[in-house]
């Protein structure tokens, strides 16, 4: 191809094809994630889930899409029209950008950046801007509250998220996600003590980062209606959902790249292994959603700053000790560091406050 076509067309094709694939597959993947989520949650609650539209309800996402497209698009009176319109557009873009650096095989990556991990973290937190635009532009107290909560939550969870990511380039020696997967040739990072801790830290902080239960305070329906997307309807609302599911998908992909060996695995092709690991993590996220209730805002903040942050710092020390002292003793030291920190922080700060006994006084008695 390069022999016949000029150089610029060649480059263009190399760029356009992966972008086209991402743009085509991501919405379809998101639609079927909604189906999967509804099915799994239903099964956890002893229900059947969507099963009327098509076989096993497989056409339900399409029916939902048609419904969303034909719904009325309401812009509230007094809303900031530009902010209100742009927010759902802007929130999808970073969610789609995340897929450009995720490797689905040694050569199956849209852009193999040398700073891929940094790119992922930087782009991943851009969604907050769109959420705040939505909250501000809607002229609704619930929207604004939801947006404020998002900002607070993301600032709190960005710190342990990045600190739990730091250990991977420390050991792999590269920020390029393809190189990181190659570094797990011998054993996956989750099988090392620091990788094990990092995996759970990243899973927890990642759940908070993509606003999923039990960290879905920005859209807590029992308190603030629907949070930042209270005033959105029709396709704009669908775009918010799409961004959320795409971020979930991308976060699962990142965790499987960093700790579960990415595309590596026996027998099956690369892309299939990567997809399997991603969907396993998505299942875990849905499973967590089906199990745990939502945090209270002070518990959420307390958990981030008082537990996750010290543990992720201890994890960095543990990874460093693994490098310094090779072999069993380094691993033991890393494990002890993390476990000790976890014990100390939880005992210090998560202990429930002693209950004050209520003393009832009879009215009229002396």
């Amino acid at each position: 191809m390069g022999m016949i076509l000029p150089e610029w067309i060649n480059t263009l094709i190399r760029l356009v094809i992966p972008i086209g694939i991402i743009l085509a597959l991501a919405p379809v993947g998101m639609m079927y994630l909604t189906w999967l989520e509804r099915k799994v949650i239903a099964r956890i609650q002893d229900r059947v889930g969507p099963n009327r539209v098509g076989l096993y309800g497989l056409l339900q996402p399409i029916a939902d899409g048609i419904k969303m497209l034909t719904k009325e698009d309401v812009v509230p009176a007094g809303a900031d029209p530009i902010c209100h319109f742009l927010a759902p557009v802007i929130i999808v873009v970073p969610a789609l950008f995340l897929f450009t650096v995720l490797p689905f095989g040694p050569r199956l990556v849209a852009a193999s950046l040398t700073t891929g991990l940094l790119f992922f973290v930087a782009i991943g937190s851009l969604g907050t801007l769109a959420i705040f635009m939505a909250g501000w532009g809607s002229r609704n107290k619930f929207s604004l509250l939801g947006a404020a909560r998002t900002a607070a939550q993301l600032i709190a969870y960005e710190v342990p998220l990045v600190l739990s990511l730091v250990v991977v380039p420390m050991i792999a020696g590269s920020l390029n996600l393809v190189e990181i997967v190659r570094a797990q040739q011998g054993r996956w990072f989750i099988l090392t003590p620091w990788g094990f801790t990092g995996f759970f830290l990243l899973l927890t902080a990642g759940l908070a980062e993509v606003n999923r239960t039990p960290f879905d305070l920005p859209e807590a329906e029992s308190e603030i209606v629907a949070g930042f997307h209270t005033e959105y309807s029709g396709m704009k609302f669908a775009l918010f959902y799409m961004a959320e599911f795409l971020s979930t998908l991308a976060m699962s992909g990142l965790i499987s790249v960093l700790f579960l060996g990415g595309w590596m695995g026996p027998l099956l092709p690369d892309w299939l292994w990567m997809s399997l690991k991603t969907f396993l993590l998505i299942f875990v996220m849905i499973w967590i959603r089906g199990t745990f209730p939502r945090f209270r805002i002070d518990q959420l903040m307390g958990f981030a700053w008082k537990v996750l942050l010290p543990v992720s710092l201890a994890n960095i020390l543990g990874a460093a000790s693994c490098v310094l002292i090779a072999g069993f003793w380094g691993n033991l030291l890393a494990a002890l560091l993390v476990f000790g920190t976890f014990l100390v922080t939880t005992q210090l700060w998560l202990q429930p406050k002693p209950q004050l006994t209520t003393r009832w006084v009879q009215v009229g008695s002396s």
């Binding site: 099964r43 229900r47 059947v48 499973w287 199990t291 976890f342 005992q347 998560l350």
Partner: protein, 211 residues
């Protein structure tokens, strides 16, 4: 001292158990119920609890009551006739009906045009009826009973929800099938009453001197 996170893991195993049970037990039960032709729900059951209503349905309890029906002595599919009709147009049900939704017209003998103890018209407004069952409680002739007919949707209410005598009449065979226990009790009671009547009649006959 308490190790945090262990109970969270335990919670996760519980929900995973429900997830797996919904497939294994649910499948077995679906198969079994297909064979039996009915769905069962019990608090101790595990697996999927959903009853796919229009396709599957739970059996309603026998004393479940919705609207009253009139009983005539006969088989299913038969048309009611004045001879088989149990109702005597006494009007007790219309009197005790709290929302006053029953309207009765007494029948006439076609030959003599004299009133007879049979109803020729019997209306119940299904929208007004409050399903209390007083009519069935008070009826001295066991002619009006509460039925299980709960799928009563219609597109308008001024014509199709005024049930007339033809729509209200069901056979004793149908009632015996839907209410086996109540029907059995009623049969026993009616037989005892008939026996008592026969005994008193026989005693009266014995006391009275033969003519």
């Amino acid at each position: 001292m308490r190790i945090y996170g262990l109970e969270l893991l335990r919670g996760l195993t519980i929900t995973l158990g429900h997830f797996i049970n919904s497939y294994t037990i649910g499948f077995r039960r679906t198969f079994r119920n297909r064979m039996r032709g009915q769905v069962r729900q019990h608090p101790a059951d595990k697996g999927v609890f959903t009853v796919q209503y229009p396709d599957e349905r739970l059996r309603v309890p026998e004393r479940f009551r919705v609207l009253p029906v009139l009983i005539f002595d006969g088989k299913k599919g038969e048309q009611w006739k004045q001879e088989t009709e149990r109702c005597t147009a006494c009007g007790i049900c219309a009197k005790v009906c709290p929302p006053q939704c029953i309207w009765i017209v007494q029948g006439k003998d076609p030959a003599t045009a004299k009133p007879v103890a049979k109803a020729s018209e019997f209306f119940i407004d299904a929208d007004v009826c409050m399903n209390c069952g007083f009519c069935a409680e008070y009826c001295p002739f066991d002619a009006i009973k509460m039925d299980h007919n709960f799928e009563l949707g219609a597109e308008e209410r001024h014509v199709s929800h005024i049930f007339d005598i033809n729509k209200l009449h069901v056979s004793t065979e149908y009632y015996a099938e839907t209410h086996p226990k109540a029907w059995g009790e009623e049969q026993v009671r009616r037989k005892a009453e008939a026996d008592k009547k026969a005994a008193t009649a026989a005693a009266a006959k014995k006391e009275a001197p033969p003519a």
